[in-house]
């Protein structure tokens, strides 16, 4: 199977190289086979095909003069040290001041910030054996306090994060590499093993770099005491003015910013608090604000609010997927003090016919059309990028066919209308977090299941409990003490390898690992494990991509999850605001380039 993919990919890459296929079309085709845009563009980069210019044009011809940029976040940033940022709200806040070496733009291309250029095999930045990357740093960059930015700062960040006493949340990027200083403006990241996806350390939101001279004395146990945790001194386009956690963050133009003519806005503020709907009102209906973040609002409401005429809704494609996880183990039997134990198998869901039927009973199109609208695209794939997603795999909503499959598999309707076989009834507990669209989706699925003789008991758990890691609480999603559960899983890094680890046998959530394993469905398939393992050490980018696609297909063919919707990031933006957004990084990753049209 993977041979077929590989062959096609090689053909297409050479087509791009010879100019027969545009870069953009290539990316589009890659997405169609289940690759994310960043992976696709990395394929090209690794194959020696230059990065295309991003289509976003920055119009202003001088620095400043744009007035105030007012952003409204219904959850305001609570801290401004990127290495402590617990959620995206904090990453958004610190990104106003700090920058990484490079970031992923909306198309999935690497965009340089503090790097002088993007490393590649051609310019010698990426080692031929993928064992190291050399980054050249931009010259003449200054911190907001006037001190120069150098390689020492970059190396310091790696040390700072790797101190276990610091408990930095960004440690995932830095724990498997070492960082060396080559000269004042060159550093080298050395990996422990060949690393095909090399652009992680110092890239994206966890890659933001803090100044050595201000944090040097506040490492490890003392890290909380740094005054600059709350009053950041960065390299970004805006300088610190004022910050009240959870309420307001104010910044002003940095006159020494290292990019020409940027930024356009004289001041920037992020106001926090409230709820998503009223944030949308403040941008779309009254125009009090320019931008509202993370519009978790039903599209129907957004459409009505857009009639206010002050703003528009921007959809930013990413890798998040709303899906239904199917429990492979039995949630109703307790073994050694845990339910959903690996020692059990699910009495009814282990029958593939039942899973096939469920897959046919999820009316994705209606969920998209009537609940999520533009904010969710029906999908059949787990790894996907929504905008131009045309999967080879398709989904179907067909109650009759589901009935048929169940009938053939011997599940017969009883007097109560519920199908059963060998005394086992098709009754499932279906849980999710409390969130209006999810409850509506549950209602739609329940209705369809009823018509096929499957009874769903709906359960909804308050989000702060459902998404917690509380070992003692059986209602969390990793415990999965239910037959089915639905939520959105985020593909934070633009690489599906990490994302797909949630189906590895070794990652199964159990009592032993305090339910911190990421494999909730307790899916165990040696073929999958092998394919993912092969992908992680495969140096040939094309072969690797093919292996990752195979991983996605194994999971989907086995129906251990039912993907429902690909969920892009949704923002409300004032009509005259031009902004470049990316869901592979925080939304304001490039706020230096935002401008207001005259």
């Amino acid at each position: 199977m993977s041979d077929k993919y590989e062959h096609q990919l090689r053909k297409m890459i050479s087509a791009v190289g010879e100019g027969r296929l545009s870069r953009r079309n290539f990316v589009r085709k890659m997405i169609a086979v289940g690759l994310t845009a960043p992976i696709a563009s990395q394929l090209l980069t690794n194959s020696g095909i230059a990065v295309a210019q991003t289509p976003f044009k920055y119009a202003p011809t001088k620095r400043g003069g744009g007035g105030a940029l007012k952003l409204l976040y219904w959850q305001g940033p609570t801290l401004l040290n990127p290495h402590f940022a617990t959620g995206s709200k904090d990453q958004e806040g610190s990104r106003v001041f700090y920058e990484p070496l490079a970031s992923w733009d909306g198309e999935g291309n690497l965009q340089a910030f503090l790097a002088a250029e993007i490393p590649s095999k051609e310019n010698g930045g990426v080692a031929a054996d993928n064992m190291s990357v050399t980054w050249k740093l931009k010259q003449g960059v200054k911190w907001h306090d006037g001190k120069p930015f150098t390689a020492d700062d970059v190396v310091f960040n790696w040390e700072y994060v790797n101190d276990p006493a610091t408990a930095a949340v960004s440690v995932g990027l830095y724990k498997d590499c070492t960082v060396e200083k080559i000269d004042t403006h060159t550093i080298k990241v050395v990996f422990k093993k060949p690393t095909p996806f090399w652009a992680s350390a110092f890239v994206g939101f966890y890659g933001q770099i803090i100044p050595k001279h201000l944090f040097e004395d506040f490492r490890g146990a003392k890290s909380r005491e740094a005054p600059t945790n709350l009053k950041p001194v960065g390299t970004g386009a805006f300088k610190y003015v004022d910050f009240k956690p959870g309420d307001i963050l104010k910044a002003e133009l940095n006159p020494d910013y290292h990019q020409q003519n940027k930024p356009h806005f004289d001041t920037l503020e992020i106001k926090g608090g409230g709820d998503a709907v009223s944030a949308a009102r403040a941008v779309l209906q009254t125009g009090e604000y320019d931008f509202a973040w993370n519009m978790q609002v039903e599209d129907e409401i957004l459409l009505k609010l857009e009639q206010g005429g002050k703003g528009r809704v921007d959809i930013v494609q990413g890798g998040n997927v709303e899906f239904i996880a199917i429990n492979n183990t039995d949630p109703n039997v307790e073994v050694d003090g845990e339910r959903s134990s690996l020692k059990t198998t699910h009495p009814t869901l282990s029958d593939k016919a039942v899973r096939q039927a469920l897959n046919l009973l999820v009316d994705r199109n209606s969920v998209e059309k009537f609940i999520y609208g533009r904010t969710g695209k029906a999908t059949a794939a787990f790894v996907n990028n929504p905008v131009r997603f045309r999967s080879a795999k398709t989904f179907e909503f067909n109650i009759e066919k589901a009935n048929d499959i169940l009938e053939k598999a011997g599940w017969v309707k009883g007097a109560d209308g519920i199908r059963a076989k060998d005394g086992k009834k098709l009754k499932f507990l279906f849980q999710t977090s409390i969130n209006a669209p999810r409850q509506k989706t549950q209602a739609i699925i329940k209705q369809a299941c009823q018509k096929a003789g499957i009874d769903l008991e709906l359960k909804s758990i308050v989000a702060s409990v459902f998404f917690s890691s509380d070992v003692a609480n059986p209602d969390t999603y990793p415990h999965f003490y239910a037959d089915l559960e639905m939520f959105t899983t985020t593909q934070g890094q633009p690489d599906p390898e990490e994302f797909l680890r949630q189906f590895l046998t070794a990652e199964a959530a159990t009592k032993d690992n305090k339910w911190q394993g990421r494999n909730l469905t307790r899916y165990r398939n040696p073929a999958f494990d092998e394919a993912l393992k092969a992908a992680s050490s495969e140096l040939d980018p094309v072969k690797r991509a093919a292996l990752l696609i195979k991983c996605n297909d194994i999971v989907i063919d086995d129906i251990t999850v039912i993907p429902v919707l690909a969920r892009p990031a949704v923002e409300a933006v004032a009509n005259n605001l031009r902004c470049q957004l990316s869901s592979w990084d925080v939304l304001n990753y490039d706020n230096a380039s935002w401008y207001r049209e005259a």
């Binding site: 129907e300 709906l458 909804s460 308050v462």
Partner: protein, 296 residues
């Protein structure tokens, strides 16, 4: 001065109550609401969960006299179904809050020992507890047990009533205690004491009837508060599942559609208002009828 005919106190009260026109009207209104939610499902046999995307947020019409909600489900049927829960929760929680509050307040107001201090400490404690973490803790500790003992619906009902009542009795206790502190020193109570009335008799015959004013007001306000609070509980996973259309829940769901489908919010809002209104007027009638000072 007094009439020659001797009425029993209850008949006298009923006689006075009947003279209160608004109260009588409200009693009829409340009875009608109760009747509608109890028997409405036979008069309007429409499924509460029939999703119809073509009729989303439809204005009231013959097919849907109250219109439809955001999934195209019939609002009248949902109002009837949810009304039973809302009314029962509102009234039961009010009774719990009033009885606990009156009991605690009365004992604290009468006792001159450490019991008074202890009860006021308890009241202060309950006033200080942040309700959200407490509720989450209660769900976590008791939901499964209650479900196992009383079954799904009754278990949730008992828990909601206990929780709402258990978090709303403190103002009543404080009010009753304050009334008691003042009343227990009044001449007529002293007179009763001098005549050798037992403490229990002093309280039930002399003090409590005079302290009922604020209790009745608190009770009528608590009904409204409980109906609304029930809806917030369902967001915590404590109340009925979110797909059970209680009035408070419907009002909450409707709020984002207020500009483009006002009927969705107005109908549950009006239902809560009419219930509260009628209960309040009945309360007014009751207090006038039971007021021992009223001489006519």
């Amino acid at each position: 001065m007094a009439s020659q005919r001797v009425f029993s106190p209850w008949r006298e009260a009923w006689r006075r109550f009947r003279r209160h026109r608004l109260a009588v009207f409200s009693l009829v209104l409340l009875a009608a609401i109760v009747f509608a939610v109890l028997f409405g499902k036979w008069l309007w046999p429409v499924a509460i969960d029939e999703i119809d995307f073509t009729a989303r947020l439809a204005r009231p019409s013959l097919a849907h006299p109250f219109g439809t909600d955001d999934l195209g489900q019939d609002l009248l049927a949902r109002m009837i179904y949810g009304g039973r829960i809302s009314l029962a929760v509102g009234l039961a929680a009010m009774l719990v809050a009033l009885s606990v509050g009156t009991l605690v307040g009365a004992i604290a107001g009468m006792s001159r020992s450490w019991i008074s201090g202890g009860l006021m400490w308890l009241t202060d404690l309950f006033l200080s507890l942040p309700s959200l973490p407490l509720l989450l803790l209660i769900i976590y500790l008791f939901r499964e047990q209650l479900k196992a003992v009383f079954g799904l619906e009754l278990g949730i009902f008992i828990m909601i009533v206990a929780v709402i009542g258990g978090l709303r009795w403190m103002p009543v206790a404080r009010l009753v205690r304050a009334q008691f502190l003042s009343l227990r020193e009044k001449e007529f109570v002293e007179a009763a004491r001098a005549l050798g009335a037992s403490r229990f008799r002093q309280v039930t015959r002399h003090i409590l009837p005079n302290a009922l004013g604020p209790v009745i007001v608190a009770g009528t306000i608590d009904v409204a508060a409980a109906i609304i609070q029930e809806s917030t509980l369902s967001f915590l996973g404590l109340g009925f599942p979110p797909d059970v259309p209680t009035w408070g829940r419907l009002l909450y769901d409707a709020k984002d559609y207020l500009d483009f489908a006002p009927h969705f919010a107005l109908i549950p809002g009006a239902a809560i208002f009419l219930t509260v209104l009628s209960i309040n007027f009945i309360g007014d009638g009751l207090r006038d009828a039971l007021d021992p000072r009223r001489v006519q």
